[in-house]
Amino acid sequence: MPDNKMNDDVDECGLFFQYGERKSKDVKGREIEKKPSQRVQKIRDLYFKTSSSVSMEFPHWYTRRWMELEGDIPIIRRAEAIKSAFKHLTPAIFPGELLVMGKTHYLRGSYPMPWLSGSYFMSKEDDMYKEALEAGKLSADEVTKWGAGGGNVTESVGNILSVAGKFGLRKEELPILIRTAKAWKNRSVEDIGSRYEKMVPEYKEKESIMRSVICMFDSGYTLPQGREVINYYYPLKYGIDGIIDYCKDKIGEVAGKPDMDRLYFYQAVVIGIEGIKSWILNHAKEARRLAEKEHDEKQRKEYAEIAEIMEWISSKPPRTFRDALQICWTFHTAVLNEDCISGMSPGRLGAILYPWWKNDMDNGTLTKESTMELLECMRMKFTELDCFASMGVVGGVLSGNTFNNLCIGGLDKNGQSSANELEMLILESAMTCATPQPTLSILYDEKLPEDILMKSVECTKTGTGYPAWINNQTAMEFIMNNYQDEGMTLEEARSWSIGGCLESSAGTWLPIDLDGKEYWIPGGAGTATSVGVHFIGVPKSLELVLYDGMDPRTGERVFPSHGYKLDTYEEVWEAFQKYFRETVKVLCLCNNIQHDAWRKITPPVINSFLKPDCLTNGKDIGQMGSRYNTTFNVETCGGVNLVNSLASLKKNVYEEKLFTLAELKNAIDNNFGYKHADEVGSYSLTEQKKSPEAKKWARIHKLCLNAPKYGNDDPYVDDIFEKWESWFCDMCHDYTSLYDKPLYACQISVSTHGPMGAVTLASADGRLSGTTFADASMSAYPGTDRNGPYALFNSATCWDHSKSQNTQLNMKIHPSAVEGREGARKLLELIRAYMRRGGFHVQFNIVDSRMLKDAQANPDKFRGLMVRVAGFTQYWVELGKPIQDEIIARTEYEKTG
């Protein structure tokens, strides 16, 4: 007889963490494991030995030039500063690389951008740090925990100082860091923006909101751009000189005419791109230098080849696939050097590069093997990227990830499948060279050929967590809807792609002629979606309702009393809506000021000229030069815990009156008789320990745990879920961005469910104080979805996902459940079923939890182990413990039967 589920996997609290049966006592390894080419294996080994390093070159030269130009027109000053910095970057080429260039001369280098914000990386004794702490700007940092493994430099050792909790800085560069940071005091976007933020009448509330970490961070001061799709079209089509010529013509056209900002913009583009040009040529020189002193014939030839390519692309459009790939990478890095960005996604790179690839393949200058080598090199380049920001942002939100999402599949301009053979190789290279970046997403559409779907399943089965499976049709509906006022058409909607981890981003089609053939390639055409109100921990909002506006953790009053007696469930819901609205309102106003300061002080130059239609209409992104500008959003985290808590309140307190609200609050104050997560050292509900007091709260805790839970196809709680989703998605439209466009809902947790859970007391759903929230937005709280994936799917799709920019469902599957060829086919059926029901996204961790526990205990043994967190893949050892615990606790679907 097939086995029923093993009931001995039930933890102390009576939750099941495993669904189905566990066949073997042995820890299951991953079924598919492939190796990269020898060349890339060496680069990867080098990467594993490298730590995140800070180089002060770029900020130093940028600051110096900026200060020299005091009084000049901001965008010109900015372009000159960027140019100077690019010109002075020390070129570095690492042995074996086919693609070159990086953010700094370190393999894994990055740097702070003090013109944005300078306080967070100063020492805790520094005044700048103290002031920021007071204003609630660093509260998220204080509650965030880093993974101490891998390339993170969490503590200073010897000559290397740890900065912002993760990055290593050479001691001798410290004075430059301090000098540069101090130079921006009272001049940075943050310092200037904050002055004006204070003019918002509810500013005091905003500070309290930040201090109690109801909101994770100020996007304007931390990640002013990103979660968007880059566009490589202009450099690919016209080359650097082509763009310069175009701008020079335009300058002639607009000089002295009304709307003069266009003049400065075109001039700024010329200056900025000249900086990039010298930066490229410096790499060419470096390659020549290396070639000269190289003894190995093969390597010498490679250096010479690199030099030749760099010289060519420093002015001209690509001749070959490799040229084109190098151009994409160069401009990608250039944008990341310009601003503090997370989630600058290459988009549908396979479709973009296909013309050159096809050409090279047809004329025999490229083979599948050589393509693979190039693609693997590209993977390493993207993986080497680091984003320098505060601990709360890089650690708490991003887990060190840079979210360069590469999409495959989707539809072409004519509505046919856009999948191509190059994309098959991109998938293959993501298996042979399994690294976190670029992460892959497959834009699932019923029109995609089975071939690419099965290849994607194979890749999913490697356990790297990618590709994420995205519903092409649902996303297109969102795009059509969200950008309708800006003229979005069905044809154009098809060019969409994921920007960042899961953000549906608007794109456009542009033509490439190659050897007499015309191709329409997709690329980003909208501004950043990393902007707006970022990460409200919704269970925390409910907590404030129960405590009538006080934050019970800090003892600080955040909001005035809501004025409800909370005698009925409806009152709870209304009070919640009131507080939530207030939070969004205040944060939105302040955030608009932040971004206004950003666009005025550090107008984006490079990202602007890349993004249609800035170059044609002479406006930068901050002046709405992009085609689509309705991109500010409201991000939430912990929605499922909110819904479960509401269900418990409704049933236990109001309908069945099993205990009173006062009794519940008492139980929450006492953490249901459990020790605090920090004391236990684990952030997962499974691992929590009872205190001797536990008996007193056991009854209430049991009732809370046993209340209906999301993810079980239970209409009682799913109705609440549907109500929350619909209300939330609609209410966002009531608030407007800096550009006078309505906000919209974005529902990804990234890693915020760790720190946001850390600041939230126990909740009415039985979750304990300080423990991590449910991940993503459609995932059930670990251990509470006891009726299998189909019931979970039904719960998740009880509302229309196209109302939101995204939704996210993470599932952990034991490798045995998808074993073999039949297992692969059945996994596809599972995914397809969810997509057909309108689910926006699903992704998998195909890994044995016991292996993860082992990895937690022995990080050194698992340097290369990757897992899916929430919309992204990361090295296990670089994750903070709260997130590791949460992943281990996620319900694991096993093969049943």
Partner: protein, 312 residues
């Protein structure tokens, strides 16, 4: 509350079951089995009644259950601070007051009654997700023990164009099989041992009814018959028995078997049910012995699939 004709006693439903029939399936575990195999990995499937499962490590010995139980079936071992349950009294208890009052989730029940309508609702929901080639598999226990319910479920599924499969011990009156076979697309037919006495020793019943039923089912056209045998070292893995099994399958005109290696993952459940697992935990077949059995089947031109390595 227990109307046997319309309600079934179920102890689990699992969606996305991938090894019990073709495609992705919903697997329904029905309680009650006419056999009692010593190595049974679902001991809660044997009794045809709901059963209390007691998690001793969570119990704090606070007497709540003692006070709640109207039949005085439970008392507390004060020294060890644990509950001691008299299972003979609990047998068939439907009130389960003890479970409701235990705040520590130390008492749970295995088995709940479902109407055909309720079950069909779940099946119709799941059906949206199976994808190509999936369906429903009834298992247990042995679904044949709840004949009326099983028959209705299969009939309803069949009427809805749902692919149906069932796993059975084969120990049921032929009339019952006749009653359901029209609605069944696939049958997993368990073979424990070819020798009647050995069979009775390990399962409590002789195997003649089982083998007779197998012969009859094997003659039917529209049903795929998949024999299944758990390989129990020292019990049914002798050359003679494997050979006899192969000859039997050949003899009834069939050609497929799925052999499963014995495991002991269900052993911990025995304790929860107040039972003892009398099987040596070290006895598990080796990969070689499974391969060896496969070869014997192959010599009789029978396709033999080991474990999950099946073509469906």
């Amino acid at each position: 509350m227990r109307d046997k004709d319309t309600k079934g006693l179920i102890f689990d439903i699992q969606g996305y079951s991938v090894h019990d029939g073709p495609g992705c399936r919903t697997l329904i575990f029905l309680k009650g089995c006419p056999l009692e195999c010593k190595w049974c990995s679902n001991p809660e499937g044997i009794s045809p009644l709901p059963q209390l499962m007691y998690y001793q490590d969570r119990c704090i010995g606070n007497f709540d259950c003692v006070k709640a139980c109207r039949s005085q079936a439970v008392c507390i071992d004060q020294e060890r601070e644990v509950a001691v349950i008299d299972r003979t009294i609990c047998r068939g208890c439907v009130d389960l007051e003890c479970m409701d009052v235990c705040d520590h989730n130390a008492l749970l029940v295995s088995g709940y009654y479902m109407t055909i309508e309720e079950l069909m609702k779940t099946i119709q929901r799941d059906r949206q997700y199976w994808g190509a080639g999936g369906g429903v598999t009834l298992s247990g226990g042995d679904p044949m023990l709840q004949y009326n319910f099983t028959r209705s479920v299969l009939q309803r599924c069949h009427d809805s164009y749902i692919h149906t499969a069932m796993e059975t011990s084969g120990h049921a009156p032929w009339a019952h099989f006749e009653g359901i076979l029209d609605y069944l697309d696939w049958i997993f037919f368990d073979i424990k041992h070819m020798d009647p006495k050995m069979h009775r020793m390990a399962t409590g019943v002789l195997n003649n009814t089982i083998l007779d039923n197998a012969k009859k089912i094997a003659q039917l056209e529209n049903i795929r018959m998949m024999f299944r045998m758990v390989m129990v070292p020292g019990f049914n893995d002798s050359f003679e028995n494997v050979k006899a099994t192969a000859e039997f399958i050949k003899g009834v005109g069939q050609g497929e078997i799925n052999i499963l290696p014995l495991h002991h993952l269900g052993s911990s459940k025995y304790k929860l049910l107040g039972l003892t697992y009398n099987f040596d935990l070290r006895t598990t077949p080796t990969r070689e012995s499974m391969e060896w059995a496969r070869e014997i089947f192959a010599e009789h031109s029978i396709e033999c699939y080991i474990g999950n390595d099946t073509p469906f």
